[in-house]
Amino acid sequence: MEINMHKKLLEIKNLHVSFFTPAGEVKAVGGIDYDLYSGEVMGIVGESGSGKSVEAYAIMGLLQSPGRVTGGSIKFEGRDVLAFTSKEQQSFRGNEVSMIFQNPMTCLNPVYTIGNQLIEAVCCHDVIPKNQAEARAIEMLTLVGINNPEQRMKQYPHELSGGMRQRVMIAMGLVCDPKILIADEPTTALDVTIQAQIIELMKEIQKLTGMAIIFITHNLGVVAEICDKVSVMYAGKIVEQGCVEDIFYKPKHPYTLGLLKSMPRVDEEQHERLIPIEGTPVDMLNPPPGCPFGPRCGFCMKICLRQEPPQIEVGDCHTAACWLLVDDAEKEAADAQ
């Protein structure tokens, strides 16, 4: 494990994704950068519509018309993912990087059995006899904590509970032993108790297999639970990025701060009121110039509405995009200009 620890798996540079709707171009992802190393669990946090899922789809090549990558690069182990032919992409998906989705209720094909769908996932990457594929599928179901896997294989998705189906989805994601697992809000549609079980399960599996996970969520609690690194996204941009401690204890961006303040905490002594973030997200169709969070920001300055803030390094592996972080002295220098 240790040897692999610092191998760079995924490198995303200045990724842009747009949706070309009849009403105009919606820049769902507007230039994001990050790296993912093997064995790392990275959280991507943001509210709905912030582009976190879209970015994951871009990696998987799952973007569908009218959505399209308009700029930047995605490299997996040095190979350019965006330049893959459809054949290459097929063998990449599921095999190198697999993905599980938010709603396990609708993510499994209702007309085929669990076993059929699991075996399909194996067989479209490895040419192995059916009984071996089946054995592999059963092994995976056992791994994700499903009892009676042989019987479950014969059942249809509608015969399983939501938590069970999400376990099946995870098993399906793992069945080809991918290097990265992208989990797109895997717990959002589940009951709280089941959520905790699924998180626990993913943690265990991560330890066991050592794969990297990109964990997309809007739930900061889940992030604290499982992630090493966190990227906070707002309106298609990463506004703050850092290790989980940085984000939770030394948040730099007012949006991150807002997210943290709007999260209920049980460990806090004094009963602070939750503070919601005022306002609504920007209209992605006509984004205003400047910082997208500006209009909702309590510390908004004139420049914030005029010019987009740069990414500023505020610590080791900790960056944030906010004008507030530009040092006072430099501001004075700017004023003098």
Partner: protein, 351 residues
């Protein structure tokens, strides 16, 4: 490293970062780093003008070219059928001796038939019959179907079970067979009634003839099933929504619930289903008329005209083609307009 007392609740360490390369690229105004005023922030949040449901629907419908063209053609056909006969000399039944089997000409744009009747005026009346049948049948369906569906969905429980069972039974009855059967069976009794009654309403029925009356009866008996199902589904769905529960919790009566909450939310669906029922009723009428089971002579409909023209179809193909064409255009535009209406009234359905 300094501490920035920014947010009040905690201190922020700020890092001395090398911002020169960042700042160097920009030029700043004097007040760039002063707080922005609320107004400035406001100006970035664009408020969309809010439109009422109907305004919004009309705006969407206007944008839909196909639907607008269809609407225009439908209006033209309506004018043709209802205003057109006012400008014609002859009646649909007037037979002019010596004018038999005329080709298309200035006097008789669509020619005449073998009884010397002008085919233009007959086409107008045929279109009129088709439209009347379509609209009347749809209204029957609308009333029975939405009442049945609303009652079944609203009260639910045992009543709903029984009503749905009955609906399933009706659904499995072959409808066209019933129409045929009714028109056969009712022919004599209805004719007797027509002949003995003096009321003007019955007289106007008698021009249409017993077969059309049986179509109406069949629509009243069988065809409301689809509408009832849709409305029931809609009501069931709405009933579970929070705003209905909230209204109920506030002590709203059933009547008020239906009037204020359920009906306005169903109205789009009802309009769309009704508008799409019209072409299918016209379809059915033309089918029966073509088989010789439609309006009674001398009244005509587009289907009967096509049927009448069948005998001389190789010598006078226009007699067949003109009513067929108008009928097809009528059904097509009504369908397209209905589709447009659906897209406009129920944007959720449009992907």
């Amino acid at each position: 490293m300094r501490t920035m007392k920014l947010f009040g609740w905690c201190s922020f360490p700020t890092w001395q970062t090398d911002v020169e390369p960042i700042l160097g690229q920009h030029s700043y105004k004097q007040d760039d780093f002063f707080p922005a005023t609320a107004e400035e922030k406001e100006s970035f949040i664009e408020m969309k003008q809010s439109l009422s449901y109907w305004q919004d629907a009309w705006r969407r419908l206007k944008k839909n070219e196909v639907a607008m063209i269809s609407m225009f053609i439908v209006i033209v056909i309506f004018l043709f059928a209802f205003i057109g006969p006012l400008f014609m000399e002859n009646d649909y039944a007037t037979q002019v001796r010596g004018d038999e089997n005329l080709p298309m000409s200035w006097d008789h744009p669509f020619g005449t038939d073998n009884h010397g009747r002008d085919l233009m005026i007959r086409t107008m009346f045929g279109a009129r019959v088709s439209l009347i049948v379509g609209i009347a049948a749809s209204l029957i369906v609308l009333v029975i179907g939405s009442l049945y569906g609303a009652i079944s969905g609203f009260f639910g429980g045992k009543l709903d079970d029984v009503m749905m069972r009955f609906l399933e039974l009706i659904y499995s009855v072959p409808d066209i067979l019933v129409v045929l059967l009714l028109s056969t069976v009712l022919k004599d009794p209805l004719n007797d009634w027509f002949n003995t009654s003096t009321s003007p309403l019955v007289k106007s029925f008698s021009t249409l003839g017993p077969s059309l009356i049986s179509i109406f009866i069949a629509f009243g008996l069988l065809y409301w099933v689809g509408m009832a199902r849709i409305i029931r589904g809609q009501v069931l769905m709405l009933k579970q929504q929070e705003f209905v529960t909230a209204a109920r919790a506030l002590g709203a009566s059933n009547a008020r619930l239906i009037r204020r909450h359920l009906l306005p939310n169903c109205i789009g669906q009802i309009i769309v289903t009704t508008s799409l029922q019209i072409p299918s009723a016209i379809f059915l009428e033309s089918f029966l008329s073509f088989l010789g089971l439609g309006v009674s002579a001398p009244m005509t409909s587009l289907g009967s005209m096509a049927s009448d023209a069948l005998g001389g179809m190789y010598s006078y193909p226009h007699r067949l083609l003109i009513p067929s064409f108008i009928l097809s255009v009528m059904i097509l535009t009504l369908n397209l307009f209905g589709d447009g209406l659906r897209d406009a009234l129920d944007p959720r359905l449009k992907k």
